[in-house]
Symmetry: C2
Subunit: 258 residues, 2 copies
């Protein structure tokens, strides 16, 4: 959505095209060079940062809607996107709270019962990408974006700080079930490489020896007979994610090669 | 909802009281005597079994809606009820598919755009209870109920077989994160007792020695100095769930004492 005309049509007729009372929010984690960040968009006029999000078309499968919204807002395509929670408890999720504000920003009349100002439950997804390989674009609703360190998240719009916290908790919980790093590491990697990744995501130090042993025991990675030569007396073994465990993850969420 | 009048009012005015396009379905697992079952309701006229479910009131927090619906449909109160997934991919989730059938059953006119026949996303919750301690009641929509063994689930309405499978997968995944058995075992229990529970839920044999060691290592249970005397030469140690791990689970879902 890039023009005033498109926006007007969206506000006037959106309820014919989209499901009301429900929307999608995405927490896009970006990892690069031992830093973990999330993608934030700055919403025009609302004077605040928030998550990429959007509505579900009336006959669009939910998982396709999530992928489409991410593609439209960020240019990201074919990534592992996993649904993790529906947020519907906070009163801030009642969009009416800022009706006048939003109406003012978009220069629309707020008539009672306008679909855009109805209470909206948020179905939240997360993804994990290498942010150095991503180019983000903004649209009519958004005027800026940033990759923000997870340790420095500002006050976000609505209840989105809670959404980010839950996403992070889920990501950390799933690190020992799913090949979270699959898109972030070379196909064959060393233990120190995956160790750095896990330390960054978990936000704490991990004993290198126990860590490697644990991943191997869980069947998430396997040691190859191959080694990488990085110096005269240094040639660490290479490791690879276990394909079958990865396949299992397919049944747990929407997974794509990146 | 127990009378024809209430039903008529619900069908006519429900969209003023409830959010459209979104509903709640509950998978209630029942464990007793080494059997794992789920609660199914038989829907009047639809000639099939389905899950307990309902709609969210317009200003009702989502988690409260889930608890209210469960209480209304089953009489169950104060239980651990955990949200696990939103189902919105299957075309069967488009309720229009059986509009005529449903309209016929409830003797209503289907006018185009009737809120009850709009596409509905299902927010799914699961719970785990001792089914021997539960008394279920039916209402106008439902004519019978059963506790059905998880190994013998029939073809369910809409896409609800998928909902049950995902609930079971989530339950099994979480058994090593959360004190799943908290409501099903005595406060102090023996290893054989919790071992039976886990074998039943996982549907497979577990090595008793490794199993106990794993739960203790994960910090889920701790051995007490107390023993239970069950015979002349048999007095196994008693175990207890670790309160702090249980507290952590509080942040992962809606938890109540049972």
């Amino acid at each position: 959505m890039n023009s005033r005309e498109e926006l007007d049509d969206f506000l006037k007729n959106g309820h014919k095209q989209y499901l009301s009372h429900v929307s999608i929010d995405s927490v896009i984690f970006g990892y690069h060079d031992q830093q973990l960040k999330i993608l934030l968009l700055r919403w025009k006029g609302l004077n605040g940062w928030g998550l990429p999000g959007g509505f579900i078309q009336r006959r669009e499968p939910l998982s396709q809607a999530a992928l489409r919204i991410l593609r439209e807002r960020t240019g990201l395509d074919n990534i592992f996107l996993q649904q993790f929670h529906v947020f519907g408890d906070s009163p801030y999720r009642l969009r009416e709270r800022s009706v006048e504000e939003i109406a003012d920003v978009f220069e629309v009349e707020v008539d009672s019962g306008h679909w855009f100002f109805e209470r909206t439950l948020s179905i939240a997804y997360f993804a994990l990408v290498d942010y150095a390989r991503v180019s983000v674009t903004t649209d009519f609703f958004t005027e800026a974006y940033q990759w923000c360190d997870v340790k420095e998240i500002p006050q976000l719009l609505f209840d989105q700080n809670e959404v980010v916290e839950k996403a992070l908790a889920t990501l950390r919980l799933q690190m020992y079930h799913q090949p979270i790093g699959y898109n972030l590491l070379p196909e064959k990697f060393t233990l120190p490489e995956i160790h750095s990744l896990y330390e960054t995501i978990l936000g704490k130090k991990l004993d290198p020896w126990n860590f490697g042993k644990k991943l191997v025991n869980l069947g998430l990675i396997k040691r190859l007979s191959e080694r990488r030569s990085i110096g005269a007396h240094r040639s660490p073994y290479l490791y690879q994610f276990e394909k079958e465990v990865y396949e299992h993850a397919l049944t747990q969420g929407i997974i794509h090669t990146y």
